[in-house]
Symmetry: D2
Subunit: 327 residues, 4 copies
Amino acid sequence: MIHAHNYNHQIEQAELVAVCDPNEAAAKKAANLLKLTTYYTTYQEALSNDTIDAVIIACPTKFHKDIAVAAANAKKHIFCEKPMAMNTEECDEMIEAAERNHVKLQIGFMRRFDESFQTAKEMVDAGEVGDVVLVKSLTRGPSKPQEWMYDISISNGPLGEVNSHDIDTMRWFSGSEFKTLFAVGGNFRNKEVKDRYPDFYDNVVMNGVFENGVLGSLDGAQYVQYGYDARVEILGTEGIITIGDIHETTVLSCAKNHSVKRPARKSWTNLFKDAYLAEAVSFVKCILNDTLPKATGMDGKMAVHIVDKGNESLKTGTVIQLGEGIH
Amino acid sequence: MIHAHNYNHQIEQAELVAVCDPNEAAAKKAANLLKLTTYYTTYQEALSNDTIDAVIIACPTKFHKDIAVAAANAKKHIFCEKPMAMNTEECDEMIEAAERNHVKLQIGFMRRFDESFQTAKEMVDAGEVGDVVLVKSLTRGPSKPQEWMYDISISNGPLGEVNSHDIDTMRWFSGSEFKTLFAVGGNFRNKEVKDRYPDFYDNVVMNGVFENGVLGSLDGAQYVQYGYDARVEILGTEGIITIGDIHETTVLSCAKNHSVKRPARKSWTNLFKDAYLAEAVSFVKCILNDTLPKATGMDGKMAVHIVDKGNESLKTGTVIQLGEGIH
Amino acid sequence: MIHAHNYNHQIEQAELVAVCDPNEAAAKKAANLLKLTTYYTTYQEALSNDTIDAVIIACPTKFHKDIAVAAANAKKHIFCEKPMAMNTEECDEMIEAAERNHVKLQIGFMRRFDESFQTAKEMVDAGEVGDVVLVKSLTRGPSKPQEWMYDISISNGPLGEVNSHDIDTMRWFSGSEFKTLFAVGGNFRNKEVKDRYPDFYDNVVMNGVFENGVLGSLDGAQYVQYGYDARVEILGTEGIITIGDIHETTVLSCAKNHSVKRPARKSWTNLFKDAYLAEAVSFVKCILNDTLPKATGMDGKMAVHIVDKGNESLKTGTVIQLGEGIH
Amino acid sequence: MIHAHNYNHQIEQAELVAVCDPNEAAAKKAANLLKLTTYYTTYQEALSNDTIDAVIIACPTKFHKDIAVAAANAKKHIFCEKPMAMNTEECDEMIEAAERNHVKLQIGFMRRFDESFQTAKEMVDAGEVGDVVLVKSLTRGPSKPQEWMYDISISNGPLGEVNSHDIDTMRWFSGSEFKTLFAVGGNFRNKEVKDRYPDFYDNVVMNGVFENGVLGSLDGAQYVQYGYDARVEILGTEGIITIGDIHETTVLSCAKNHSVKRPARKSWTNLFKDAYLAEAVSFVKCILNDTLPKATGMDGKMAVHIVDKGNESLKTGTVIQLGEGIH
């Protein structure tokens, strides 16, 4: 609902028209909460509403492609949450449909709109740390995975669930595409499911080289318990930039136990709240000004591709060479 | 407009009905921006609208009292920005009018609603640092004072313009009222107005003792140029709590110049954005649940009183003893 | 013994010759520990040793004056720990004796030799934050006061025991002398001695104005329990500088309790270890190069004076005006 | 000379007897500086001195093995700087000679003696972050490599010159040995030597898996220019620990440019000064108490081994599987 709330009154040049959910009770409840008069239970109905210019796709990944293609054919601009689709073939269909129908297709990499990420990108582009040498990015979530996530043929594991953003960040800051990669991982915090899900990993480290020679390294984890942790480090030829703190708010305390303490960040919602709104504003602007979205279908597709290849590396224990034909 | 935007769609149980500004063009423009159909150019008209349950007073201080008393008499609940009024007599009139008419009167000390301040208060109340010994609070603003602020008979100087919040914070964390105070100050950054405004000071330090023995110290400054700085430190018998960072966002960089850098905080708007919304939510709740506002008329009055006495200390160079009769 | 260890082999151009302690067992033990062949039990004997060029006085304050004057008369250079003496008259005698005998007299304000303090001073002198407006300095110690400290006619209270360094820091950064001051305090952590020592305070806040208009504020505390805390903040017309962290070492952790933790600083020894050595090196250099010590007898005397006047303000509850004749 | 200064008077139960350097002028100069009466120009002479119980080997790596073996045969305890030797065969010879002669052999991994590293290790061992999942360690040096370092057949590149410590840290915190590893790198800051030294890399990232399943990732860099940077992060099943700050000293400033600044760490000398002394104390203790050194010959050998294998991975672009026979 974070998108719905942002588009509902917080963006001057946009108006939230309707919500759509196959579960009618859920659709009705959302509409009430948002004080909307219209809701739909099929995306086909929603797409037939001529007053709608654009759609936000935030349903399970397996439905993304069909809805996006239908939306494109109905000449609606498309904002689609990440992961973009189940595989790169679906991504290609979505990209092709959007291009053919001359509609925008933006993927939900909201970190690109976060003030800290943007400041860092401007600094890198201004050459403040020289040429980029190495991009490191990590995301670690506090929550126990839900049952369906253990089946990585469905969830794609932490690489897909958690690190899609890191992959996008690495591509964004390196300005290039992965050329080789190697991933290692293991199941450390969910050992009770090892028998049932032998392929499941809850921690991963992946490094690689980009086509332009820049080095990359990411790590991802689920159920870390200590908090939500998302940090980036960009090492250049002449300096570094880091993004992210582990702590939240500005309170610090120190009592008899002789520990200086700050509250840890408990979730991503507060951290990226402003970024989600900026992302929505940017989407509306790119429609109105007919400019390229700041996170394109190709960005979405490449993240899907790298998750696949990372999982392949994990499974085979080998270095993966990425063909240049993909992008 | 920060209040208007918050009440306009972001608070479930409240609805923004109208805006009021004696300048019709301004009133019209604000109404358009907020997509409101109603605007007023006199507060009397606004108060005669029966569908209005509560008013937000955010005009210049000298009009606060008249509007608040009229609002109370019209049985409207009142949220009034700080400084509450020009002097404690006006504050008394406002408090009395609200009480007589059984309406809520909340003063705009939004820091009490900031997540960091609230966490700190909960820790203090839970005894995590023992008994409170000393409360320090500082606020320093980046901007050059406007011409009218140099006349401290009108502006009350930085103590009124900048430190009202610190005075409230000190009262809040000490749980008591100032008993003695002493202030020193000077004009350091606006020397070109020294001839015309010999009483003007742009920097002040004030310390004192509360009735319960707790010690207090604040400092305030205008036109500091390096950024917006608001920090608090609570020293207890067994520990400390600090609130506030000088830097903003989570970006950190280090390049050839061998300095580790973080962007400084440029303004209060971003820092307290969430606090303003929480303040509004709390005001609506105290009306609906008929509870005491978290920042009362008495809180507003005491801040006005302490600003007066601080300025008296600055002028006379003496320690001021505060009578207990005031509160 | 920190001085003895520093002078014993760590300073190229100095050699530790002997130790002196009226308790022979203690003198012998120290000599053994330091692998020295010589020790004395009276300072008169020590001063009669012609191979000795300089003395370090680190005994209880009440003996400082007699030893220093005798050392000066014996043409020994003098390093004397702070507080310099029991009162300003004694300080004057020491200064006069050193001047008459053309020997150096350096007082143990080692913070002036700390790398962070020195960096800050260089930045201030280079005008990096404009003109100095306000100097804040605090020192808080973790330990329960020893019995004799409760009698402030002997110990001078925390102002003397803890804040002498802060007073020196404020004079150093303001480049001026206190003109007015006002102190408030109380006994918050040693309530069991209130009956026996009604004048004792374990927490103090003192603010004031320097002769050049610069503002100052310090706070001091004993038995804070959370750690050793020494921090300084210099506010200029165009920026700020802060010195000091609450945490120690570079370890940070965050576990299930959702607190980001760093170990607190437990004592001053580690914090100022390098400063003590640099102080000793500087003392040796000022003798060899015949230059002015970086912390002179006048610096020692003014700290004694301000402690006196701060205690007078605490006792009388009034603002103290400091005469210019003292310095 | 850091070792010589530490053993010279700073360690109670040790005495520095002599220095040894094939260059007589250098040996003489060092002896003078250290106020020693004895110096040698061949290690054979030095080893024939019966009053010597232990030797510190801090010469170029290629001489380590011969000197260490001779020292062991002369029944001297051995402290040897890292890298331990030119290859694992030499390491084996050194270990075997020490064992056969019943002398201690300690390798110079001083980070194990750093207070922050030790605190972190104690926390890990106490289970404060659960089981170890991932150990990340990085070291980046500010200086331009010297000419001879470009030939990685001699220098072993940054992996050997810079990351030996990180490899040791990862082994120490994982409590295990590398099982697989993969490294990527490049020459980013020394492009002018690319023709002459095509194999040279000044930046490397290496990840891997330990035999107990723990994941590891390191990065190393030379000539980063922004400062000296050494940081570690240990991710456990229930929390994290980080070691290391980029900044040095406790000064922070913020002026008109709106950047909050702290000085960057310029070199490793100050950072690990105390660790070097603690390392020496520990070496003396393990001799006196006949205990195992805290960094053994096997620790030295494994670092040499992993550097070799990391360079092999860089050269072949493949994942390296490490045999278990090596340790």
